[in-house]
Subunit: 447 residues, 2 copies
């Protein structure tokens, strides 16, 4: 298979573009934004939103208008969940300090997290962001294996440090990955006749050979097991196993990036890789870990960390600070108390089924995929019904925003709706989404 | 000058070592820590502390014992400052979301920050950590200049990502910097006969040539203008100017890492580089920016950011989120309201003078350096009075901990006391420190 072309960032379809006509109040804010934050900032929606309040699955704009949030995964318990607000506020008033003093709260949290993971002799390293966790995971894998090659998915996103950007093809606007990176494509899984296990195995074999031809042995397969930015590929469970076996046989390790699928989102298990019955050497965590409070980390096998510690010091000022642990523990406890993983499974199954039922009415919905409350909806051109339609996707996302529903896009072509709400999203919320979806689809496809 | 040898991490002198005899309660916590967090964690002090509460310049352990904090710079306003606790708690209860919606609070903050900086046509990028800010700064400098070489100080620490670790010689336990990194030594400034401007100019010229010999042009001089981990070198103001001119003439840019000297610590100015009358192309921020809430960032010239944005997307999930801005704004306002920069200047001058006066009584105090509330005290062997004495430094730090005073060590040899308290540290606190210091020095040097 040919190397995939550089990917147009998936968000541009539905993002504000200079030149878009704006309401005066919005125009004033956008102007201030460009004058202060400048070129690297991006705003969702052709008419950007000024959000001022959040509660559960709801966001409210400066006009008091309410939006159903079917996009933001960081606030996994729902916006401003009182358990987290109270835990963090209390901790901030008492102590917020780094990890170079003893703190039993961090041990308590780590014990629970480690017990939930199949990593042999695992230890927790707390960082501040998922990017830092993936950056460290790559360093660990490469130091441990003595190899340099890394395999990622074709439209992967793993974070924003320079090293992690190199393994995040979805961040490239120009150019190609460096020679030590090879990508594997998920798109053939759109064809129902594709054997997913076999395809991934074949792709991984090809990737290993491509790395070898360029002089690189494989240090790691780095994957987000729900393939969020590739367009959400979840089924059948287990399809990654032969690929992982190949990487192991070649001397590499598995890094499971749980920044997206972790903490119950995929419904069937707490961790996305568990759906695929995998046993990673390294697992990384991020976004939802603190319901918006910055906390992230990784679990790796003890000897890998010991090897690192012999060569380099590692310390993360904000990683695992008292308030971060308070937030993470509140998220952990609330996920359990409110049975949000079970809700993700139940609501997600209903939601996916309802969306699939709409394929008959609107054949431009070429596929609906996902697990739990992480659902991808492919939109294709009405004439071919197979060619991705990023324009329709962008129009749909902006029209849903006008209706008071927030979602985003994913996939190499930006033609997959990415539905990824807080996990307190229930059946009534799904019905509300579907009702607006039906209205908007009817309008868009009528013209 | 020869390449400096790999540096023994500066903290090991005063850190807990496996094998240290511990009190039973402490031993139990250390055991849990090793079982959960493992090899990369490090604990301050031979008898690690379990800190449970903080207030102003005070930390309290689990036995209710009070410690004067002369070490922790992150809590720049003091531990648990109510202005930050209240601002963050309020914001967490209302909204805490990423920067892809409009938010006037971020513009307001950015306008104030930008107005305080001499960066031409500067724009703010918010990150979560200083490591992420320095990682991005290096990427910007190298993309912009099209060059790869970087010059840093010999014992620099700029953060924990893989790329930033490469420019942080103080993190190396084995090995040497990669060939695109060259270091400059500050230690000759210990000799009062050294002309600091001339030495830095000469060192920088040597570094440029060394890079050139290895095939690298210079992209950036990356410096923390107080040279925190090198051992704190502050005077005379302006000593960096000829070095910066050389780097500019060679086509490189100046990245001022304000993670340590920034936000008023050096007393004479809000930013450390201002003391040296420099005009950096990129300024990075971190630790104190949110008084412990994770928030960091950089300001760079608009065209540099525009170049980056053409090539790669950059987004930071937690960077500039609503709660982070609330924390940063509260810090900004409180620094002004409580005139903490002025306090840093006044208290710091008194403190430094008092320490210098002790050089006569204890000649092992070979030098006292610093600016504002960032003071370095070199300890040397009693017999030579010039050879660094990391053993004495470690014993002193541990003895001060027993007396209820917290400080740390810096410098290539770990023989510089690093005094860097919250900026609400006043003359009474300095006197209390000095009284314990006198007691401990008398005891240590009597034997």
């Amino acid at each position: 298979m040919d190397k995939p072309a550089a990917i147009k960032p998936i968000l541009e379809q539905n993002a504000f573009q200079p030149g878009d006509r704006l309401e005066p109040a919005t125009a004033r804010l956008v102007e201030k934004r460009l004058a202060t934050l400048g070129p690297t900032t991006m705003l969702f929606y052709r008419q950007p939103l000024e959000i001022v309040r959040g509660e559960g699955v709801w966001l409210f704009d400066s006009q008091g208008r309410r939006y159903l949030d079917a996009y933001n995964n960081v606030q996994v318990l729902g916006h401003c969940h009182p358990a987290v607000v109270e835990a963090v506020s209390r901790q901030l008033g008492q102590l917020n300090i780094h990890t170079r003093y003893l703190d039993d709260a961090i041990h308590h949290y780590a014990e629970q997290l480690l017990a939930s993971l199949p990593v042999a002799d695992g230890r927790l390293v707390l960082t501040c962001t998922g990017s830092e966790a993936n950056d460290l995971a790559l360093r660990l894998a490469r130091q441990w294996t003595g190899r340099q090659g890394v395999i990622v998915s074709a439209a992967a996103y793993h974070g924003n440090t320079e090293r992690v950007t190199e393994v995040s093809p979805s961040s490239y606007k120009t150019g190609q990955p460096p020679p030590w990176v090879e990508t594997i494509s998920l798109e053939p899984l759109n064809d129902p006749h594709t054997d997913a296990r076999q395809w991934l195995q074949q792709e991984t074999q090809r990737a290993l050979c491509a790395l070898a031809r360029r002089g690189y042995d494989c240090a790691a397969l780095l994957i987000d097991s729900i393939f969020s930015s590739d367009g959400i590929y979840a089924d059948p469970p287990g399809f990654l196993q032969p690929a992982v076996e190949l990487v192991r046989a070649a001397g590499g390790v598995l890094i499971a990036d749980e920044v997206q699928p972790g903490f119950g989102r995929t419904g069937e298990a707490l961790w996305g890789f568990v759906r695929h019955d995998l046993q990673p050497e390294i697992v990384t965590f991020g976004k939802p870990m603190g319901n918006g409070f910055p906390v992230a980390g990784l679990v790796a096998q003890q000897p890998m960390l010991a090897r690192l510690a012999q060569q380099q010091g590692y310390f993360n000022t904000f990683g695992g600070s008292s308030a971060a642990i308070a937030a993470a523990q509140a998220v952990w406890d609330t996920l359990e108390k409110e049975q949000l993983q079970r809700n993700a499974a139940r609501t997600g199954a209903y939601f996916k089924q309802q969306l699939q039922q709409r394929q008959q009415r609107w054949p431009v919905i070429s596929q609906v995929r996902g697990s739990g409350l992480f659902i991808g909806v492919d939109l294709s051109r009405a004439d071919t019904q197979t060619e991705p339609d990023p324009q329709l996707t962008g129009r749909l996302i902006n029209a849903l925003r006008e209706q008071g529903v927030l979602i985003g896009a994913a996939g190499r072509h930006g033609a997959t709706l990415k539905i990824r709400p807080p996990l307190c999203f229930n059946q009534q919320h799904a019905d509300l989404f579907l009702s607006h979806f039906d209205t908007v689809m009817s309008e868009l496809l009528a013209g």
